[in-house]
């Protein structure tokens, strides 16, 4: 928490310092520095950096053009997200439909967001530009060398090549992650759903109403509280089991294959890698049919009498084993199947770590008379934990959101017999993420999808922080020495 606060303070002090520089530049700068306030290329032009001057002038022109044609059209409507509903009339003479000049709430939201972001970035460039002009003026006064464009280009292809390299990924992240994410966060505060669907209808801001309706009395569905608690519980149980069974299974498998007496290490490793080379959804769909109520596993089990035996001891009362269709059975099967599809990945990671075990420690332990089990417990495991701890955390979060395994194995097969869950469109085997999917897919309930998305994000973030702090507490070096 303190770190967080000090981070914010330092950010503010940096902004303050920068604005101070901006003020000095304006107060002490020459005519061209001040002229740069209007024509951003003025300063560069004066210092004979003509190419830079042209580039920044073009940028300025582009932003102005954007503001006039798009920004100023949408930003004024951002407060209401549009007021003019679509109306149309069919003209039988021209065989065409004629529309009025209507507002599209989604476009207003998106373009306003884009405009605000572009202006923010432009503001930073703008302030920097003035500060830079003043620096150049001082450099000129001191008679220092000012880079030509050629020299600058050389700099960005040589010493500062990382800036060139990183600019493309940063732009990509901005376009494909930041903008959609921010748009989604904004949608959580609107009433964008099946009854307010642009372009025909308008949607508008509703403040925190969606968050309130998610958690207040009843919530999203009539048995929302009942379902939410159960789904959340299974999500956490699943995440814990799925993560740790895979992790431990992977390490055990890797150490088994790594064992001195195992012949054909490469062969075994390849066998398990083949299991993950098959696309996951293919193996999951196949397993779904294998374990179906009328599937091959059930046929075999009833042929050799396992079904009969289970019925006799009272574990089942159906003529088949409900591997994926009854609560309990399905929960266990999901975790087991997840082991099957997930362990090879962990094995590969663990193999890499095990191959780099510090042999001196193991050697000395052996000389001191430690048994293999003791070596595994006190040297191997702590070392592996130390190296793969962060990966374990990401695995945990990934399992909270493990849509594939749950959805592919249970959709269309698992039918809940719990009416209270059914009234919330939930099933005993649903994770938050699969529940969110069914809740929103049929409704076009974008606002609630956004809200639940934010909630799932919050849960994942909290879990990550807690587990991460646990793992990185204390002197880790010591932990395995």
């Amino acid at each position: 928490m303190n770190k967080f606060l000090s981070g914010i303070t330092s950010l503010f002090s940096r902004i303050k310092r920068y604005l101070g520089k901006f003020g000095t530049a304006l107060a002490k700068g020459d005519l061209f520095v001040r002229l740069s306030l209007i024509w951003m290329g003025a300063g560069y032009c004066r210092r004979k950096q003509y190419v830079k001057s042209i580039i920044i002038t073009l940028l300025e022109a582009a932003v102005v053009l954007f503001s006039v044609t798009i920004g100023f059209q949408y930003i004024p409507k951002f407060g209401t997200l549009g007021t003019v509903r679509q109306e149309s009339i069919f003209n039988p003479m021209t065989m065409k439909k004629e529309f009025n000049d209507y507002d599209n709430s989604f476009m207003i939201l998106l373009y306003s967001l884009v405009s605000i972001l572009i202006w923010l970035i432009f503001l930073i460039i703008y302030v920097r530009n003035i500060v830079r002009q003043y620096e150049l003026q001082k450099m000129e006064e001191r008679g220092e060398h000012i880079n030509s464009f050629k020299e600058d280009r050389k700099l960005y292809l040589g010493e500062k090549f990382y800036v060139t390299l990183l600019s493309l990924p940063v732009l990509g992240i901005f376009l494909f992650i930041v903008i959609p994410l921010l748009a989604m966060v904004l949608i959580a505060f609107t009433n964008y759903d099946s009854r307010h669907m642009p372009p025909t209808e308008l949607f508008t801001w509703v403040g925190l109403e969606n968050f309130i309706s998610l958690f207040s009395s009843g919530g999203l569905t009539i048995t929302f509280g009942y379902a939410f608690v159960r789904v959340l519980a299974w999500t956490l149980i699943w995440a814990v089991f799925a993560t740790f069974t895979n992790y431990i299974g992977g390490i055990l498998l890797a150490s088994l294959i790594n064992h001195k007496r195992v012949v054909g290490k490469k062969f075994w490793r390849t066998m398990f890698v083949i299991a993950i080379a098959v696309p996951q959804f293919v193996s999951l769909l196949l397993l779904k049919y294998f374990f179906a109520d009328g599937g091959i596993v059930n046929t075999i089990c009833s042929d050799i009498g396992i079904t009969e035996f289970l019925r006799n001891i009272g574990l089942i009362n159906t003529s088949y084993i409900p591997f994926l269709t009854a609560p309990g059975w399905a929960h266990v099967m999901l975790i087991l199947i997840n082991i099957w599809v997930g362990v090879p990945y962990q094995m590969l990671i663990a193999t890499g770590v095990l191959m780099n075990l510090p042999t001196d420690q193991i050697e000395s332990a052996r000389i001191d008379g430690a048994t293999p089990r003791q070596i595994f417990r006190h040297i191997t495991m702590p070392y592996v934990l130390f190296i793969t701890g962060p990966a374990l955390v990401t695995d945990f979060v990934r399992n909270i959101n493990n849509f594939n395994v749950i959805y592919l194995l249970t959709s269309g097969v698992y039918v809940t017999a719990d009416q209270a869950l059914a009234n919330s469109q939930a099933k005993e085997v649903d994770l938050l993420i699969t529940w969110l999917f069914t809740l929103t897919r049929d409704y076009y309930n974008y606002k609630m999808a956004a809200v639940i998305g934010i909630v799932v994000f919050a849960i994942s973030a909290v879990c990550t922080v807690i587990v991460f702090r646990r793992l990185t507490q204390g002197d880790r070096e010591e932990a395995y020495q």
Partner: protein, 429 residues
Amino acid sequence: MKKKVVSIVLCAAMCVGMLAGCGKGNEESGKSADSGEKQKVSLTMWGQENDQTMLQDMIDKFVKTYSDYADITVELGVQSDSGARDRILTDQEAAADVFSFPSDRLQDLVSAGALQSVDDMDEVLQQYAGKTVADVKEANVEGSVEAATYDDTLYAFPMTADNGYFLYYNKNVISEDQVKSWSSLLEAAQAAGQKVGMTLSSGWYNASFFYSAGFTTSQNEDGTTNIDWNGTADYSGVEVTQAMLDIASNPGFMALSEGDAANQMASGNLCAAVSGTWDSVAAQEAFGDGFAATKLPTFKIAGNDVQHKAVIGYKLIGVNAHSENAGWAALLADFITNEDQQKTRFEVRNVGPSNKVVLADPMIEEDITASAVVEQSEFAVPQNVGSNFWAPTQTFGEMVAKGELKADDTAGIQSALDTMVAGVEAPVE
């Protein structure tokens, strides 16, 4: 949510594109029809993947028919009927001008403002196709027109009338008399050591028992569903459930999971199954020369024999409300649903027509599946429900199938019905 992200990304990309292309105004406005010059019209249309060749032929005929009035080009795209609603609602302005969809999606599309009213097209149809909207309504069976109508406005052209279920059976095992009632049917199956399959854990199938007893469902404008199954219609909801339990607990009965009928028929477990035209080939292969189909049998509610009604759906052709050339799009939609094209559709794809003249054609009677559809259509109910209908009714069916409800425990049945009704009627947030 993923779809949302994609569309946002697309929008973002579009916005970048607009930066580059702004100021380039769209000057091409439509020329009026009476200017003497032939209008250039381009349309887009979506159809199912395995209909593409047939649809292309129909489009060619359409273009030729109207070549005197306009230069029409139609671009044909692939879109499954079941997914049409999702894709249209994701971006209505980018959706095709003409598309097909199942009738139970009509209300969603209308309330999202995606469908062009056909009533508005009366003048166009009169001028170019030589018929009125009333003629279109007259030409198709009543149920299909009803399914294409919302708030007294016709929103789509009926195309097929076969999206329902009926009974497939093996006439080598079961006689024509035995398929008349569920009890004799189950008895015959038991005697043959086989079973009769039906899906219970689906509101589409298990609603049939309630509809048979006079119960109804309907959808409100806000997407909520009205349902009265816990009350009393011709019989009480408890009595209907007891009748269902009576069938489900019979050793000759097998509760199928949804979509599993073909599988179970192929594995030889079934001598009869309740399913629809989509399983026609599977049933023919499974039953061989014993392949037969007929309407659903009668069943006993509180001691009386009641005809088992089925839920029926229709495939409709709609015109996009945002279509620029809405008039021509409507003419195309009318053309591919007219009598000749429905006949072609039955000949090529064996799809049951909604046109009355085609239905009266002797070739329908000769076709085992198609004649079963016609036979059942007399006892068929179109289902109009909101999205909250499915999960509670599915679970109710599952409880019946698994025997979690007991026939003599009327209080338990009543409370299960009450819970289901509460879930179905819940407000749509």
